[in-house]
Amino acid sequence: MACARKWLNRVMADSLGILLAGITLVISCALLAKVMHGPNVYWFGNWYPHGSVIVGISFLADPISIGLAVLAATLTLLSLIFSWRLLGSGSNYFQPLMLIFLAAMSGFCLTIDIFNLFVFFELMSTAAFALCGLKIEEPAPLQGSFNFAVTNTIAAFLVLTGIALLYAVTGALNMAQIGLALGARHDPLVLFAFALLTCGFFVKAAIVPFHLWLPDAHAVAPTPVCVLFSGLMVQLGLLAVARLRFVVFAQTFASHETSLQTIFHFLGILTVLVGGLMCYSEHHLKRMLAFSTICHMGIMLLALALGGALGFAAMLAYLVGHAFVKGSLFLTSGILLHRLRAIGERSLFAKGKVLRWTAALWFLGSLGLAAAPPFILMTGEAGISKAAEQMSRSWISEICMLGGMLTSAATLRIGMHTFFGWGEEPITDEASEIGELPETASEDRRIFWYQFVPALISISIPIVLFVTPLWLSVLRNESAVFTRQSAVLHLVYLGGPVTGQLPAWNETFKASAVRGAVAFFLAILLACTSVFRHRLKRTFRIGAFLESGLRPLRVMQSGHPGDYVLWLTIGLSIMGTISVILLRS
């Protein structure tokens, strides 16, 4: 596609991009249908293992990985449809980059070779850097892109160092072989490698304190790119951590489960709180959505940290739901940008009164963020609460509820201001005054079907998936396979069929539904205290108080790359110290 670049005019390039993304989606779905019977290991170049030494690279195609690849293809397809005739992607660079991004994400999900994981991590990051800086007319995108690039490149080097240390110890590059060779080794080297790898992937997954690049990158990237970033790229960081934990380091931590869980829980709670609070205090639409992504990543980390197949299955359900809801919200904000030429809360105030369908999409999105009933986020949350009960840490469900409430309240507040025009002029801040150059040509400001339909599809998929829970049993059983190191070893070395079993968690649905509804209701309350702040007494203006932001958090998010690296180092050294001290046998 790239070689024909100069000769294709705009329409042809867009349609070619959409066609190729569509083809990828079809192929992925076909693969998914095929591996439903059982996971499959694919050896590149016909290099089967020589005895117990694996010499080639392999893909482990189980329904979970392929399912995530299908998710990637779907989101890319929706984004490409949305970006039909998007301004600023002149000379047709945008479409090849998006397709490469899709390829990198799919490869990342499927691979079971650790260096291959690193290569796809780098490819995904490089395509992301380029896509983030697409709008070159303003100075802000270049800065956001630079911060993003610096932080994620350091993360890539951390991962590479971890890989090098593991290679030194085991002499292998296939995750299954490393897991086998590591056994139950506990020395500081293995733990340090674990800390490096985890921190590297946490940077990608935007866990506090490695999250600082995400709002900058999201505030300036074009809308369809934001959909992909928040929808899947960030989550793949957690997927990598999951793979490492269940396949490579499974036996290392067998005797220290609770300590590891505590560490991850702490980070998860921190992420939920920081993400949620900052989310509520943002007035730039895309930055607010970026912080809500951080908050939800915290929830997903909590789910993962609960360990075992149940936590992992819950995390995946939540991930899929979140990807589509967040995608829909980003696409809707793109529609607002196109139609109303503004992206800050104050500049959007009361201008959206005529956009009824867009308002419906937006408020459906906020319902989804609170993990309320018709979305599969609720299914995920139900799984989390069941797993939390089993570990007698049921307060985790309350934290998830808090996170959902904060992010939902933020979107509700902005929705009320924009679409209903309630309340007075919103509070605003420096960041949201940046504004953003519109992404489409200004002659025609109708909302086109190709902008609206992807957002509509995106928000209805979680509802559809919720109503038809057939896929849920496949997810459960495959999670059981994914999280058992012995199953993966069996697959890789013997290629044999393995099955897994995980009981359903239907009994927690009702409690989760109640929690989701309560969260949404509380969110409405919080948003109202913010919107109607002039009519309330001082003590009730919680919303307004939160909205002006907590000063230390704002200082942290300074926009200076040196600060981001500093926080990265702080997180890295603390994580390293804790790993080496706490987890030593």
């Binding site: 260096f115 780098e122 490089t126 850097f129 380029a130 800086g133 070159i136 007319e137 303003e138 100075p139 802000a140 270049l142 800065q143 956001g144 892109s145 630079f146 911060n147 690039a149 610096v150 490149t153 350091i154 080097f157 590479l160 160092t161 090098a164 240390l165 290679y167 030194a168 590059l173 709002p215 900058d216 505030a219 300036v220 801040d429 420096e430 960041a431 940046i434 932001g549 704002r554 200082v555 998010q557 300074s558 926009g559 200076h560 790359p561 040196g562 690296v565 500093l566 180092t569």
Partner: protein
């Protein structure tokens, strides 16, 4: 003392990593930051290559030696080889961002480029 010598390349790699991070944190010029990333990358190369070395081993080129002889590890060399060329171009990408940023805002100091604050 012998212990340190045995592990010298790894300590060098660790020190380089630290220097790269220090440079990034204290940088006042975006081009300087990008070069610090290149330093970080060098530290990973030293670590990788140091891991694969074997004292008394020959290069893994079997044009003139027998395949059974003692050689150093070819895998880490292969891993590193492609990385060098690739990272050079990624550095070019980052420098392109810096060039554009300078063009748009007239400055290359991160302290002055603070449009994304808070």
């Amino acid at each position: 003392m012998p212990d340190i010598l045995h592990l010298a390349p790894y300590y060098v790699a660790a020190w380089l990593f630290f220097c790269g991070l220090y440079g990034l944190v204290s940088s006042r010029h975006l081009v300087h930051s990008v070069i610090c990333l290149a330093i970080l990358q060098s530290s990973t190369y030293i670590l990788l290559l140091g891991i694969g070395y074997r004292i008394g081993g020959a290069a893994p080129i079997f044009a003139d030696i027998d395949p059974g002889k003692l050689t150093v590890d070819p895998i880490v060399q292969a891993l590193m080889l492609t990385d060098v060329v690739v990272e050079a171009v990624v550095v070019a990408l980052l420098l392109a961002m810096v060039v554009k940023a300078h063009e748009k805002s007239g400055t290359v100091s991160p302290d002055e480029l603070r449009t994304l604050r808070g």
